[in-house]
Symmetry: C2
Subunit: 563 residues, 2 copies
């Protein structure tokens, strides 16, 4: 999930990671390691660093199963141009020294019916094949786990937080091959769901095979290709699997048709995401009401607060688990963007420091991801000022109206404008795509200055809106909602292109105490009040239904209009 | 300068151009041609179009001297993957049928002294070599005409509007070779400037050779390269010249060190640009005062207004010529983004239609490019509304504060925000780099959503800020200033990175009559009033000095504060 690459030479060891992890990495790594801060202008790329430290004519080894084809290509080219070579090491050297390594998980599969997916896997298969026919593609190799889960309407829990399962799939115009630990297909519900025992049309019959056999099966498929036949595979697929397809037949794509289809949620998925966010907001209102009572006692820590949040979420219907490790951080820990509390760093929540909670859950109907930053005593003027700039950025994105076809990265600066005007900034992107009971980070859309190759936003896509501000050693601020791309109806309609805007799915109050209202425009105040009206109305009704009186009182108090 | 690519097959003919030329192209091309609108999602790329129309195993020919190396690479790859091939046609097929083709121009060269350039060509050569040493590069091949002109502090007029001359240069650590029509080196001032007859240090002696000999000379250089030696060349250099360098020695770069150095203007160049813009503003104030008097007579046309602008500019000191063809457009012609009036389209300026003038000049001290949109009668409410949105966008960019190291394309959305909110947009980028007595469009910086690979903005860079709005068949609006990137001093200084903003170099009033002040924020009104104060002060003093009473009166009236 999180980017990190280690390169070890005879004399050096370096680890690349991005702005979210600079502080954490520098705290956790010893002096044998050099931290390479990705995204800073002065940081060498992996290729350039290798070229700078390697003796002449060096050979660099990499496990071809864990390097993406596009990365292999770039690195191999760069090294070759400097007289070095990149070679595939079939036996992973870390594996060779990794003792007691756990076996690959093989959890029980969950089948999702139409009520959750809106489309059967057969519908999705037909749609995929029509995309293949359109582009004259004979075969499609699915390698991304979330794409495979989405395609077959199945979920697993092989990877913590991500409801996916280890699998590959190869789809031809008349063939479907699913590569998965065959044990997990013994379950009758799964057999029924996939129609493994029911005679069905040949092109919708699934042939199953062991996970590891994808390599030889893909070789067999490729051996029988006609001279003009093309095979689609993601350019992020492993180098090892990609190279099975002869170059003349290989058609690597940055975004597969599944990735694109999955990103635009259908009405059923949108409805599910909305339900999941209501349940999630209920749990958070309860948490914050509880925190208010407990913090003065001095007994709540980053870890216990995160645990309480998980406990409250787990009481909600169709809860499956968390969608990522909770970032529960007090004061200076809040400035570590992807901080996770450990016993040795665990800080106690108090009336004196800012508390930042970035957390989310998987429910069978949807995935959540929300950040709220709160002060339970009296925030300083500077804390309020910077919080308000972040809020202005959050609103600027959430309320933005933009033409159909606009790429999300073009909205990123809106989130920064107020911070920039005061000489401030944050070093992460503003938003990422969010799956529906799938990975909490997904492509191909997002709101980040770091990506130019995102796909244009369209109605039905779901992204996060999460600007922040981090003062090293003092505090961190982030305000994050998950938002749905919806059509907008501005005054005019240039070239009949239509316009889009965002609708917040996350409905959790934003702490008014942290806002310096003098810094808001009337439009921004109206946005806050309208947002809080929606929170009160929608979440209030659900808190009432669930009989959660204290949280309801808290919600009503926290959603009073600001002036 | 302007993008256009024609591809002719046995059965088809297609021409690719961008949004600035859609209307013009569709009006000027006959039915034998298909207009391919670049930048629209549905428009096929040249490669995809070729693949869609070509019979199997086709061969596509291209003149290798007029296709850039990076384009060749992409197209060749795409065609190969579809079973076709791209081949270099040594004899250009258009040349073969082009009768009475004029010979390559060979105009007189202008030498620029330190007072204009701030650095001698020897200083620039030394700086270039230190960049080469830093990157372990043995040779640099200069192919971009503006880079060669900048490097040698020479100007020519071989290409209309661009003060450059046909040349190549090859620079080694101890060698400088300049390839240029040797006749033009006969001039004593040029010989003196380049120290052709003065014994100087070997590494600063220029060897001159005929323009055409670059091919064989580069071959000779490459034949003598040591095994590890590298040659820098722009990836926009012609395929023909690039391929002279063996792949193992070739180091293609998107932006050469000259391109990067040229973009950051030194104090002398900035001072020159300021002077040029003052003179240019004087001419425009005179023009607009004259237009006000003449338009009611019904005798001023798009062409005569443009001619008058040129005449007035030519009266200013060190005027050389225009920097691009004047876009002088009335009413519906204004919606043609790169319109140039022709006798058959020439419209008369009136009190009823909007007039858009986008024009600029070359002065020996600098280059200008300014657009003003005016109404000499009573603009409609809709014209004022859209003008005001464009103005808000112009101000949003011009007043933006942003961290050092920000790429210009991240500011593009600021220019569109007000238009987007009303469902409007424009299909061109917001700004381009501007040369100093060089090309009016230059890289590597700009403000455009179309480019991700621009270089970060830094103090001393100069770009245009020119949002617009175009209503096909009715009118066009554009407000363009040339602006200088300068340090900003906001309240805070995040990570000591520093901040930047823009300072307008263009100082020509923006017509208040076109503004719906109700749509402006107080901050925007303040910006307009402060801008007009600067125009009045700086241009007023120069108009006074030059004794141009009527224009001064016009300026004073047009710069009254708005409320």
């Amino acid at each position: 999930m999180s980017p990190g690459t280690a390169i070890v030479t005879e004399k050096h060891a370096a680890m690349w990671t991005d702005g979210r992890y600079f502080l954490q990495a520098s705290q956790q790594m010893d002096n044998n390691w050099t931290l390479m801060k990705m995204g800073l202008k002065e940081t060498l790329s992996q290729e350039d660093w290798l070229i700078s430290v390697l003796p002449e004519n060096s050979t660099v080894g990499v496990d071809p199963w864990i390097i993406a084809a596009d990365q292999w290509k770039n690195m191999s080219k760069a090294l070759a141009s400097a007289g070095h070579s990149l070679v595939a090491v079939q036996d992973n050297l870390i594996d060779a020294i990794w003792m007691d390594r756990p076996t690959r998980p093989s959890t029980q599969l969950i089948t999702l019916g139409l009520g959750f997916t809106g489309l059967t896997w057969q519908d999705k298969m037909t749609a995929l094949r029509s995309k293949m026919a359109e582009r004259k593609i004979s075969w499609f190799v699915a390698t991304a786990l979330d794409e495979i889960a989405w395609l077959f309407n199945l979920r697993g829990s092989d990877i913590e937080y991500n409801p996916v399962f280890f699998a590959y799939a190869i789809v031809g115009m008349n063939t479907i091959r699913l590569f998965v630990d065959v044990k997990r297909l013994a379950e009758p519900t799964v057999r029924e769901h996939l129609q493994l025992d029911t005679p069905s049309k040949a092109e919708l019959s699934i042939q199953t095979a062991p996970y590891e056999s994808v390599f030889t099966e893909l070789q067999a498929v490729c051996a029988s290709l006609g001279p003009k036949e093309k095979v689609w595979i993601s350019d992020k697929a492993s180098c090892a699997l990609t190279q099975v397809i002869p170059k003349a037949h290989r058609s690597p794509v940055p975004y597969t048709p599944l990735c694109l289809a999955k990103a635009v949620k259908n009405a059923t998925e949108i409805q599910g995401m909305k339900m999941a966010h209501i349940k999630d907001a209920v749990a958070l209102c309860e948490l914050f009401a509880w925190l208010e009572k407990e913090i003065p006692k001095g007994t709540v820590t980053e870890i216990s607060a995160a645990d309480k949040a998980e406990e409250l979420r787990s009481q909600q219907k169709d809860f499956v688990g968390l969608s990522f490790p909770s970032i529960s951080s007090v004061g200076p820990n809040g400035a570590i963007i992807h901080y996770s509390p450990l016993p040795e760093t665990n800080r106690t929540l108090s009336l004196n420091e800012i508390y930042l909670l970035d957390s989310g859950a998987q429910y069978i109907d949807g995935t959540t991801d929300v950040t709220r930053t709160m002060h339970f005593g009296s925030p300083s003027a500077y804390e309020k000022e910077t919080f308000t700039y972040v809020l202005k950025g959050h609103i600027a994105v959430s309320a933005a109206i933009f033409p159909n076809g606009t790429k999300g990265h073009l909205l990123d600066s809106f989130a920064r404008q107020a911070l920039w005007e005061s000489g401030l900034d944050y070093l992460h992107g503003t938003g990422h795509g969010v799956g529906c009971f799938l990975n909490v980070h997904e492509g191909p859309c997002g709101i980040s200055y770091k990506t130019f190759a995102d796909e244009p936003l369209e109605a039905g896509m779901i992204v996060s809106d999460e600007p922040g501000y981090y003062e090293d050693g003092s505090f961190g601020i982030r305000i994050e909602n998950v938002v749905l791309v919806v059509p907008a109806k501005p005054k005019y309609n240039y070239r009949n292109k239509g316009s889009l805007t965002f609708e917040p799915l996350t409905l959790v109050p934003i702490q008014a105490k942290m806002v310096n209202t003098d810094l808001l425009t009337q439009k921004e105040r109206d946005w806050v009040n309208e947002y809080h009206r929606q929170c009160r109305e929608t979440i209030g009704a659900e808190l009432h239904r669930q009989g959660r009186k204290e949280a309801l009182d808290w919600l009503i108090r926290e959603t009073q209009p600001i002036a």
